[in-house]
Amino acid sequence: MRILLVEDDDQLAQRLSERLRGAGFAVDLARSREEGEAWPDMDMLAAVILDLGLPDGSGLDLLRGWRLRRVACPVLILTARGSWQDKVEGLNLGADDFVVKPVRFEELLARLHALLRRQIGVRGTWLEVEGVRLDVISGEVESEGQPITLSKQEFRLLHLFLRHPGQVLSQGAIVEHLYDLDTHRDLNAVEVLVSRLRRKIGAGRIRTLRGLGYRFGAA
């Protein structure tokens, strides 16, 4: 799952990126309003974490521009300004939630996952499809009640499949969701990753549709 972090403070941006990657996300980083406005593949992002105090303008204006362009991905505002005026304006411009700096990473992560769950209509912290269960907060994975250990990339891939059960995901779409823009993208790596995941959760759970991609669960 790829998210975009718009944050101008270098240290904070780096630290948050690392921790978000550690939590199973692919993270792209934008450091200004201009960079955010020109971001090429907004529709492929699972979510955006948006700082309001950007050096070349307000994050609210950036958000307004995205929503005018019908960018639909959920936006979590990360603001250092504590006033509700900004929060209310942000929410009415199309933000889905906000957190005020400084925030404990666990809370930020919980809010982010809550947004992602809300987007697919899930209220708990776990996703479950056909006996495969994934807790987005704790990172625990079970298959038919048996705990499974996954690598970060395998976890991301399973998370992606569980969010889109029964849907065909092309290799290109999987790459877009799993890797940030700076990472070398290799379609063959997807094939390898899918094979590894099949071995851990059961080969029959992920079907290959020739020329189309992969599907988790029944159509």
Binding site: D9, R19, R81, G82, V88, L91, N92, D97, V100, R104
Partner: protein, 456 residues
């Protein structure tokens, strides 16, 4: 303009208008009254003088027209030039007495007689006497006849004729002067209205200022109050500038402190994961958390203190509440935020709009976090009620709610400062914030924000 600046207030006991109008009234009463007194006295004096001169001439004429016969009896050689001495009881009479002969009287004197006593001197004398038809001004003198006998000449005019002339004049004068006084008062009233129109505009601008509309005073003003209007405009601009600068500075300060704090907390969290630095990391985390709370609390207090001390902040509730409810519906998608009735358009509270946004957002967000399914919002004049269907609060919890940093459920997101900030905001304005059970008996908490009973 609001009723408080309406007609009654503009013409109230303490208004300049009424004072000026009363001054004009006094000026007109004294002026016109003085003219009336002076004019009536002067007129009466001149009329009396004219009467006396006329009667003196008449008595001299009478003496010239009387001739004594050989036996000494007086006869009138021809009538007096004034025909009123011929009209019966006309009020104009004459009489001539010669000792030893019956008095000779004018044709007008059908009855009565004139007292001879007034004619006892060679000089013409006069006095008010009883005449044939009432009190009369009587003139007389005595002269010697050819045989040395005394001839008494007397002429009289009813005093009522003099009084009638004077009272006719007085009545006419009173009418004219009354009309003049009324005209002067009307002109005075018009002058007051015209002269005070700029002050009305000034008062209207101040009224708008009190209602939270901090726009500059527009339009040309007279020289005398132009500096005042300029000062008011400068004050409005300065106030808006101060508030805005204070907000921006508070925001900048928050921004400049919170981002480094976020880095510190992240570093502390990293250290907390290392086996040897867990205790130190926890100290860092706790202190950083305290700093973050203090920043939030102190900045919120500073904001409320700046705007709370400004005069006449009024905020209409409807336009402020609508975007907050919209934001809350987005923030708490599982909770229904329901307005119990349309918000009255004129419902308002004495608070700066940004602080009302802060206050309502805190209370509504809190309600959204605790509610099971819905939050009911009711607005009446000067009162907002927000009731959730959550677990409610015990009496002790209600008393403690608002303590900075107190969180009744640490698992729910939040800083524990919301109600403390809300209480700071209401303390800065003439508002009350009360927590109570729901009025309808259902489980839940009801928060009421209302204008205080007594102005602070």
């Amino acid at each position: 303009m609001s009723r408080r600046y309406g007609v009654a207030r503009r013409w109230g006991w303490n208004s300049l208008r009424l004072r000026l109008l009363l001054a004009i009234l006094a000026w007109v009463v004294v002026g016109i009254g003085g003219i009336w007194v002076s004019a009536t006295r002067l007129f009466a004096k001149h009329v009396e003088l004219g009467f006396h001169e006329e009667l003196e001439v008449h008595v001299q004429e009478l003496a010239g027209l009387i001739r004594l016969k050989a036996d000494g009896a007086p006869v009138l050689t021809r009538p007096l030039s004034d025909p009123r001495y011929l009209v019966p009881m006309s009020g104009f009479y004459w009489q001539v007495n010669v000792d030893g002969h019956p008095p000779l009287r004018s044709l007008s004197m059908r009855r009565g007689a004139l007292d001879e006593q007034v004619a006892h001197s060679a000089q013409v004398l006069h006095r008010i006497d009883k005449g044939p038809s009432g009190p009369a001004i009587t003139y007389g003198f005595v002269a010697k006849g050819p045989q040395g006998q005394d001839v008494h000449y007397m002429i009289a005019t009813d005093e009522r004729l003099l009084d009638a002339t004077i009272s006719d004049f007085t009545r006419d004068l009173t009418g004219w002067l009354g009309g003049l006084a009324l005209t002067l008062l009307l002109i005075g009233g018009a002058v007051v209205l015209f002269a005070f129109e700029p002050l009305d505009r000034l008062a209207a601008a101040i009224g708008r200022l009190r209602q939270g509309d901090r726009e500059a005073l527009r339009g040309a003003m007279p020289l005398e109050i132009a500096p005042l209007a300029d000062d008011l405009n400068a004050y409005i601009a300065h106030t808006a500038g101060v508030v805005e600068r204070a907000r921006v500075e508070a925001g900048n300060l928050a921004h400049s402190l919170r981002t480094p704090l976020a880095v510190i907390i992240d570093e502390a969290e990293r250290l907390a994961r290392e086996p040897g630095t867990q205790e130190s990391a926890q100290v860092l985390l706790d202190q950083a958390q305290r700093m973050a709370q203090q920043i939030e609390l102190r900045l919120a207090r500073a904001r409320a203190a700046v705007t709370g001390n400004l005069p006449g902040a009024i905020c209409r509730i409807a336009p402020t509440l609508a975007p907050i409810l919209s934001a809350m519906r987005r923030l708490h998608p599982g909770i229904a935020f329901v307005e119990s009735a349309p918000v009255p358009a004129d419902a308002s509270l004495p608070i700066d709009p940004s602080d009302l946004t802060e206050l309502l957002s805190i209370v509504l967000d809190n309600a959204g976090k605790w509610a099971r399914t819905r939050v009911d919002v009711g607005v009446a004049a000067g009162r907002i009620t927000i009731a959730d269907d959550g677990p409610g609060m015990t009496g002790e919890e209600r008393c403690r709610a608002g303590e900075a940093g107190l969180r009744f459920d640490p698992d729910r997101p939040g800083s524990g400062l919301g109600l403390a900030i809300a209480r700071d905001i209401v303390a800065a304005y003439a508002l009350d914030l009360t927590l109570s059970d729901r009025q309808d008996g259902q489980l839940g908490l009801c928060v009421t924000v209302a204008a205080a009973e007594e102005p602070r």
